[in-house]
Each structure stands twice: as structure tokens, then as C-alpha cells.
Symmetry: C2
Amino acid sequence: MKLYDLQASGNCYKVRLFASLANIELELVPVDFLHGEHKRPPLSELNPLGQLPILVDGQYVYRDSQAILVYLAGAYGGLAWWPAHPQGQAEIVQWLSFAANEINHSLCTARLVQKFGYALDKEAALAKAPAVLALLDQHLEGNEWLAMGRPTIADCAVYPYVVLAPEGGVDLTPYRHVARWMERIEQLPGWQAVDAVMPESA
Amino acid sequence: MKLYDLQASGNCYKVRLFASLANIELELVPVDFLHGEHKRPPLSELNPLGQLPILVDGQYVYRDSQAILVYLAGAYGGLAWWPAHPQGQAEIVQWLSFAANEINHSLCTARLVQKFGYALDKEAALAKAPAVLALLDQHLEGNEWLAMGRPTIADCAVYPYVVLAPEGGVDLTPYRHVARWMERIEQLPGWQAVDAVMPESA
């Protein structure tokens, strides 16, 4: 099973982190992002959006980090990470959308500008960040995990761009419940930091 | 089962449309959006993001139109709309993320500015629209539906802001495969237009 990967990408880190936590073996295929390998065939045929990560498992090809988390958890990760009942799935999908929308257009965008020089609106992204983090902090004041009272793919979808937020100029110190939640994630068996690489026999 | 609803919202329409297609009865609760009812308790306690729609089914409360589609389909809609296998779920979640991210920050944002006067960047939103629609058109050239070769909640998540795109100044005429897909959706039993209201015995 191949993950077309960019080490510095928080979206790719979502997948690497979950695979490591759930002990799912991935073959990481580094993509030459700087030279636009992801924008050209064959990768642009695997994902017409021209984005990473891309997961290839035999005949199955998935783009979008949230969709890849659902696939990996459903196919290999077990019900603890992605349950079979609609109540739990919907509780988790709320946070997958939060990752794809609110987190992406605040913490992630600010980092893309500050760290990688993207021509995006950093001020607008930074202006959204406090509300996004305050909401997360409020939720985590009364909950140890984002959904279902236990670690799920919701945490794997949201944590990467939160832990990377200081690279976009966002100060995380006001959000103490977020800080404790990050510590809990970092104590999970199999947790790996963003700059770690998947071991060959994960 | 209550849906806190705003008639003009494409996100609320996603849920009303799916409920009508799947013959799921919803009690629509109109929200006084202009006076900010969704930003105050009790609604802001049901959804701290201060957004609509919100679904309340007994003890269960869900925000986010994508999550609500997953819940309704999983709990009441049957496997045709949201399958139990991870391959189909991931295929659909790709499009739920596309709705929450790409569609939201192009077609939806342009409409919020043009129709409702929101202080958002309409030019940036309109600049993204052609790539979003071209990708959709390319996918629909070879596929009758977004996922699994049949109507699913993926179509219900993406269709509303596409059909509403002209209200944001977006011209849909170049996208003929998108046009045929919209016609297919509009021929489904139970389809209802955005301005229709849920009948009392849906």
C-alpha cells in the first residue's frame, strides 16, 4: 500500500500518524513537490486536484487526507478508530469537516504563507485562528478526545495543523485544554512526530 | 427529528434534499438568521460554530451538513446512500471534503457576497470556481454520479452549491457534464428544488 507523501505536509502527516498509531504498514513514496511532480501525470491522474497525499491500495486510489483516514481505519484500523454506527461516524465527520474547512483555512493557510511563501491571504487566515482554537479549547475542556470519548481518526485529522500552527505565526499558549489534548495524543503508543519517517516495518 | 433550518442556505438544502430523496421525515425549525438567533443560546450551545444546519434527533445533536448527511443516511437512509464498506465510504468522503473545502471556498463564498452582502473576498472565490467546476466536469464525463456509480450523499453534498452557483455570478454553461448530472439528480424520485419546503409528511 503506497502513500504518495510530502514530509513537510500536515495533510500527509495526518495519514502517517494514523498509520503509525494503528500499526498499519505504508510504503512512503516521496514526491518531488518543489518540481511539481504532483501536478503532472501520473500523479495528476491519481488525483486531478493536484494535491497530496494520495493513497494507492491495489485497485483503490484515494485523495484527500480525511477520506484516506476513513479508508485506512475502516479497512485496517478497526472499530476503535472509526466505528460502524452512524452516531459515531457523524460525530467524527463533524471534525473531518472542521479539518477540511476551518483548520485548513486558518492554521494551515497561515503556515503555507509563513513557512513556504504561498501567495495566500495570511492576515485573513490569522484572523480566523483564535475563533478556531477557542472552539477547540472549549470542546476539549469537557472532553479528553474530539469524538466518542476515545482517540479516533478525528484527532488524527485535527492535531497535525494544530501542533504545526506556531510555524504559521499562531501562538498556542492561551489554549491550555488544547495543550493537554496534544500531550495525550503524544503519549499514545505509536505516536510519531511530524518530522519522523515511517519505519520500514511500521 | 428537528432540523434547525435556513431556507436560503445551501448547506441546509443539502439536508432537506437528502431527507426528501430518502423519504426521511424532518421537522423543519426556521431560524431567525437575520437577527442572529443561531449565534445565541440555545442554538449556539447546540453548535458552538454558530452555523446552520443543526440536526437534533433525541439525545443526538449534529452540526455540519456533511456530518448530518452521514448520520441521516447511516441511521435512516440505508446502504444505498452510504455503504458499510470502507471503499465506498472513503470514495464518498472525498466528495464531502470537496464540498466542505473547495466548493465552500469558491461557489458558496461568491454567492454569500453577491446575494447576501457578506464581507468576503468574492474575487478570490470566483477565481477558484473554474478549476473546481472543471474538475467536477471531468469526473462526470466518465461517471454518472460522484461516487459508487449511483446516487449517494456525495451528490447531495455537492449539488446544492453547484445549482446555486449562478446566484454568485458563476456561469455554468461551459460544464456540460455537470449540467447532465444536475438533470439526473433532478429526475430522482423525491427531488425537491432549493425553494421548496419539506411537506409535513415527507
